[in-house]
C-alpha cells in the first residue's frame, strides 16, 4: 500500500490549522514554486504527474491549465469546485475539514501556474461547518501573509474568497457553478467557449475540484513523475475513495488509482455484513452506471471503468447487498435527478420527471410491462442531448439499472405488492 | 378476391330489343300489384293474413323506433356543476360543412381550469345537414345529436335557430318505446335495439 498524502492529515488533531500543517511540511511547496519555478514549469510538472480532474470528469488537470490564454489582458480566475453534491461522495468535505491549508497551498500553486490573482472556493450551501472553517483558516492565512499582496515576499498576489452555493446540485457543473458565482441562476452554459477561455465574469477561468487542487502541493514537492508512478497508466497518483452503503466500515480511503473495486470493498471497507451477498455497486457517485457483483474485479481508475461502461466519477462507492430493492434504489436516484434538474433544456427537464413518475407508479404497484422499455427509451433520449452532463447523469443509472437488473423490474411490474398489474392499454382519456 | 368488374357479355338480338326485360319487369310489378290488391281486399273483408300488403308505418300514429346512433336534433351536455361542457373551441364550427354553427366565446377568469366558455352558441337548423361532424370534432363531448327529436319545423327562419339555453335544456332520447302493428306482429324499439346490439 502506497503512502497516504491527504488522508495522513485526517488522523492528526488540528490538521486544519496552519500551524499543524506547517509543522508537517506545509507551505514548503509554494515557497519553492514561487521562488524557483516559472508558471509554465508548474503546469508541465502537473502535466507530468498525470493528475486528472478528480471531481468526476477525469480531464487531465495540467492540460486544462495550459488552455489559459497566455496573452489575454483580462484577469484570470481559479475557482475551486467544492460543491460536492453527488450522492455517495464525501471526500472533499474531509479535505476541507482536515487538510484546509493543503488545499490553500494547492490553490496558491494553481493560481500561480495560471496567472490568477483571485481564487474562489465555491462550496455547497449545506457545508456550513466546512465553510466556516475555510473562512476562519483563510483569515489565518491572510494574517500570516500567505494570502493577499506579495506572498512570501514575491510579486505574487492572491485573494481567496469562499462563495457558498444555495443548494443546487447542478452548481457542481463547472459552467453552472460559474453562473452561480456570478450571482445568476445556476444554469449551465453552452460550450464552447470553455471556461478556460471565457469563464467567470467572461474572463479565463480554471475550475478544479477540491481533491485535484489538494494533490498539487505534493506533486510539486515530490515531482510529477513520482506522483504519476503511484497510480496506474495515465491515471496518476492516489485517489480518495468514499465508500458507503452496506459495508462494515464505510469511509474515505486514500488508495492508489487502479486499486480494484473488490479490494476496496472487501479489504479496506471491511466487506459486507455477515450473511449478506453483494448485489450491486455504484463505483463513482450515483450518476455512475451500476456494476453487478460479477464486475467488481475492475480497476478503479478512469480508463478501466470507462472500458466496462461505467465511470469513476467522484469515486463515491455505494455498495448494495441483496436486501436492496433495486427498483426503489433507482427511483431514489431518479427522484434526486428530477429534483436537481435545472430546467433549462428540454430532455432533462421533462425526461427526469417523467421517469420518476413512471418509477413511482411501478413502486405503487401499477407498473405496466411496457414501462421498462419506455424508461430505457427515455434514458436513451436524454443521453447526450443536453447542454450539461446532468442529463447523462440521470440517464446512465436508468440505463444501467434497467439493463443489469431487468429481472427485478419485470417482477415489479408483474406482481408488485400483489396489487396486480393494470391493463397495458391506456384507459379511456375521456373518463 | 371476387372480380366485380365482369365484362359485359354481348347482348343477343332479343335482349337488345329490351322487350323481354320490359315484359318481365312489367310482370314483376304486376304480380305485386295483384297480390297486394288481393290482400287488401281480403283484409277489408276481415280475413287475417300472415303477411301484410304494405310495409308502410303509419306515421304519425306510429313512429319508427329510433336507433341509438341516429343523428337527431343537437344538444349541449353539461358538467357536473351544470355549466356547459362546451369550451367554445369552435372545432364544430370549423368542421361544419353547412356553416350553420355560430359560437361566440367568453372569458371566464374565475376558473382558470376552464377559462373559455361559449357566450352564445347558435345552430341554424335550417342550414344543418345533420352530418354529425360537429359531434365527431368535439374534443369535450359537449355536443351530441341524440335528443331523438326529428320533427323540426318552424314558421320563421329565425325560429329554426337553436340557442345555447335550448340546447342545454334538451335531454338525450329516452329509450323510446314505440310499438307498431305489423300485420299482427308488434315490434318495439327495444326489440330492435336488442337485435342491433347483438349484431354489433
Amino acid at each position: 500500500m502506497a503512502g497516504k498524502i491527504i488522508s495522513k492529515f485526517f488522523d492528526i488533531d488540528g490538521g486544519n490549522t496552519i500551524d499543524v500543517y506547517e509543522r508537517h511540511g506545509g507551505y514548503q511547496s509554494i515557497r519553492r514554486v514561487l521562488k524557483k519555478m516559472a508558471p509554465g514549469q508548474v503546469t508541465d510538472e502537473v502535466l507530468k504527474s498525470n493528475l486528472r480532474g478528480l471531481g468526476g470528469a477525469g480531464f487531465p488537470a495540467g492540460r486544462k491549465w495550459s488552455f489559459i490564454p497566455k496573452d489575454s489582458p483580462k484577469p484570470k480566475f481559479l475557482v475551486v469546485n467544492a460543491d460536492e453534491s453527488e450522492p455517495g461522495t464525501f471526500k472533499d468535505r474531509y479535505i476541507m475539514d482536515r487538510y484546509t491549508h493543503g488545499l490553500f497551498e494547492g490553490i496558491m500553486i494553481a493560481s500561480y501556474a495560471i496567472g490568477a490573482n483571485k481564487a474562489f472556493i465555491y462550496i455547497r450551501g449545506e457545508y456550513v461547518r466546512q465553510a466556516e472553517n475555510l473562512v476562519e483558516q483563510i483569515k489565518c492565512a491572510y494574517d500570516r501573509g500567505y494570502l493577499g499582496k506579495r506572498i512570501f515576499g514575491t510579486n505574487f498576489n492572491l485573494d481567496l474568497v469562499v462563495h457558498r452555493g444555495a443548494g443546487a446540485y447542478i452548481c457542481g457543473e463547472e459552467t453552472a457553478l460559474l453562473e452561480s458565482l456570478e450571482g445568476k441562476k445556476g444554469w449551465p452554459r453552452m460550450k464552447p467557449p470553455f471556461p478556460a477561455i471565457e469563464g467567470a465574469f467572461k474572463c479565463p477561468t480554471i475550475v478544479n475540484n477540491v481533491e485535484t487542487i489538494a494533490y498539487v502541493p505534493t506533486i510539486l514537492q515530490e515531482g510529477g513523475e513520482w506522483f504519476s508512478e503511484l497510480g496506474s497508466e495515465r491515471n496518476g497518483g492516489l485517489k480518495l475513495y468514499g465508500v458507503s452503503g452496506h459495508v462494515k466500515k464505510p469511509g474515505v480511503y486514500e488508495l492508489p488509482m487502479g486499486t480494484s473495486l473488490r479490494e476496496i470493498i472487501y479489504e479496506h471497507a471491511g466487506g459486507l455484513q455477515d450473511g449478506r451477498k453483494l448485489k450491486a455497486v455504484v463505483p463513482g457517485g450515483s450518476s455512475a452506471p451500476v456494476l453487478t457483483a460479477d464486475e467488481i474485479d475492475v480497476k478503479m481508475d478512469y480508463d478501466s471503468l470507462a472500458k466496462i461502461g461505467s465511470m469513476l466519477g467522484s469515486a463515491g462507492v455505494i455498495v448494495m447487498d441483496d436486501t436492496t430493492d433495486i427498483v426503489r434504489a433507482l427511483y431514489v436516484v431518479t427522484r434526486f435527478y428530477h429534483h436537481e434538474s435545472c430546467g433549462q433544456c428540454t430532455p432533462c427537464r421533462e425526461g427526469t420527471g417523467w421517469a420518476e413518475r413512471i418509477l413511482k407508479r411501478i413502486l405503487d404497484g401499477n407498473g405496466r410491462s411496457v414501462d421498462i422499455d419506455n424508461l430505457l427509451n427515455i434514458a436513451g433520449n436524454i443521453m447526450g442531448n443536453t447542454i450539461c452532463p446532468l442529463g447523462d447523469a440521470a440517464a446512465l443509472p436508468l440505463k444501467s439499472y434497467l439493463t443489469k437488473f431487468r429481472a427485478d423490474f419485470e417482477a415489479a411490474v408483474s406482481d408488485r405488492n400483489g396489487v396486480g398489474k393494470v391493463a397495458d392499454e391506456p384507459v379511456s382519456l375521456l373518463n | 378476391m371476387i372480380n366485380v368488374h365482369d365484362k359485359h357479355k354481348p347482348l343477343t338480338f332479343i335482349e337488345k330489343t329490351y322487350l323481354p326485360a320490359i315484359v318481365s319487369g312489367v310482370l314483376l310489378t304486376s304480380r305485386h300489384f295483384f297480390v297486394n290488391l288481393t290482400r287488401h281486399i281480403l283484409r277489408a273483408f276481415g280475413v287475417k293474413l300472415k303477411n301484410m300488403a304494405a310495409v308502410t308505418i303509419q306515421y304519425p300514429e306510429f313512429l319508427r323506433p329510433l336507433f341509438p346512433r341516429l343523428r337527431t336534433m343537437h344538444r349541449l351536455t353539461r358538467r357536473e356543476d351544470g355549466t356547459p361542457r362546451c369550451v367554445a373551441c369552435m372545432m364544430c364550427e370549423t368542421v361544419c360543412p353547412a356553416k350553420c354553427i355560430y359560437i361566440i366565446a367568453d372569458e371566464k377568469l374565475e376558473n382558470p381550469q376552464i377559462e373559455k366558455m361559449p357566450r352564445s352558441f347558435d345552430i341554424d337548423l335550417g342550414l344543418c345537414v345533420f352530418c354529425g361532424y360537429c359531434v365527431e370534432a368535439c374534443p369535450e363531448d359537449a355536443i351530441r345529436m341524440d335528443t331523438g327529436i326529428l320533427e323540426i319545423s318552424n314558421y320563421t327562419r329565425n325560429g329554426m335557430i337553436l340557442d345555447l339555453e335550448t340546447m342545454l335544456s334538451l335531454e338525450p332520447m329516452s329509450s323510446r318505446y314505440v310499438q307498431y302493428d305489423r300485420g299482427g306482429e308488434v315490434v318495439s324499439a327495444d326489440y330492435i335495439d336488442e337485435r342491433h346490439r347483438s349484431d354489433a
Binding site: - | L19, I22, G25, V26, L28, T29, S30, H32, F33, N36, L37, H40, A53, A54, V55, T56, Q58
Partner: protein, 360 residues
Amino acid sequence: MTESIGIVLGKLAFVLLFVLNFGGVLTWVERKQSALMQDRIGANRAAIFGFRAIGLFHGIADAVKMFTKESFRPANAEKFIFTLAPAISVFFALIGFAVIPFGDKLLLGGTEINLQLAPLNVGVLYLFAVAGMAVYGVVLGAWASRNNYALLGGLRAAAQMISYEVALGVSIFGCIMIYQTVDLQEIVRWQGGYWGGWLPAWGVFLQPVGFILFLTVGIAETKRIPFDAPEGESEIIGYNLEYSGMGFGMFLLTDFIETVMIAAITVTLFFGGWQVPYLMPDGFHFPWGGTVELANWAVAILQVVSFTFKVIFFLWLQMTIRWTLPRFRYDQIMRLGWKYLLPISLANIVITGFLILMLK
C-alpha cells in the same frame, strides 16, 4: 244522317264526363297503383268527416288546392301566352275524343244514334292533326315563362313530341292499309269479323309490330315516364317550371287525358274498339253454335262497357309501365325514336304492303 242537337249534346256530355272523370281518377290510380306495386299503402289521408274512402278524396283535395292556390306568373313572363298555354294544351288533348267511337248504333225511340261524337270519315287524320297541335301548349308555355330552364324543357318536349309524331303516324299505316279506311267507326266495324270463324279480327293480330310501335310511341307522346325528359318533375325540371295552381293542374290534366287518349286509340285501332267478341247487333252468336238474343239497347250498353274496360286495361298497362321502367336519357329517347322506331315502322309498312299484295 241527322241527329238532333239534344242527342249531340248528350253524347258530348257523356264523352266529356267519361274523359274528365278518367283523368281525375287517374291521379288517384297513379298513387294507389304505384303504392300497391311497391308494397305501400298510398295516399289515404284526405278525409271527409273521418271517412277516407281509400284515398279517393285526394283527387278532390288536389283539385281544391290547385284552384285555390295562387296562380303565380313571373314578372317577365309573356302574360297572354303564359295564361293561354295550359288551356291550349288541354283543349287539343280533349277534342281528339270527338272521333273516338264508343259504341255501334243505338236505336232510341226510333232514332238511330251513332255512338261517336263526330262521325268523321277522316277520323284518323283528324286525330293526328289534333295530336300534332298538343306540342304548342307545351312549347308556348315554356317560352312564355321566360325562364331558361323552362325553355330548355320546352325544347326537349318539342323535339321529343315532333320526333315521335313521325313514328306515331307511320306506325299505324299498316293498319290503315289493311282496314282500307280512315273512318274510325268503320275501322272498328272492320274488326267485327272473325278469322277461322272464331278469332276476332282485331288489329293486334294483324299488326302485332304496329301495335307495339304505336303503344311505345303513344307513351312517349304523353311525356310520362320512361319518356318524361321534358318535365322530369323531381330532377331535371321542365316546361311547366313556372306554373302553379290551376295552370300547372291543366298541364298535369293534359298528361292524364293524353293517357286516356292513347288508351282509347289503341283500343280502337288494335283491339276492336267497342267490339265484344261474338256479339252481333242482335245478340251473341258463338262459333260453337248457340245464340243469345239481345235487345239493341243491351247490345249498345255491352259495347260501351266493352270499350270502357278495354280502355281501363290500357290505362292500367300504361301506369304499370310508368311505375316499372326508369327514365330514358335524352339521347336514348332520340336514338330510339329516329333510329329504331321510325325505320321499324317503315319496314312494317313495306312488309304489310308486300303481304297484302301476296295474299290478294
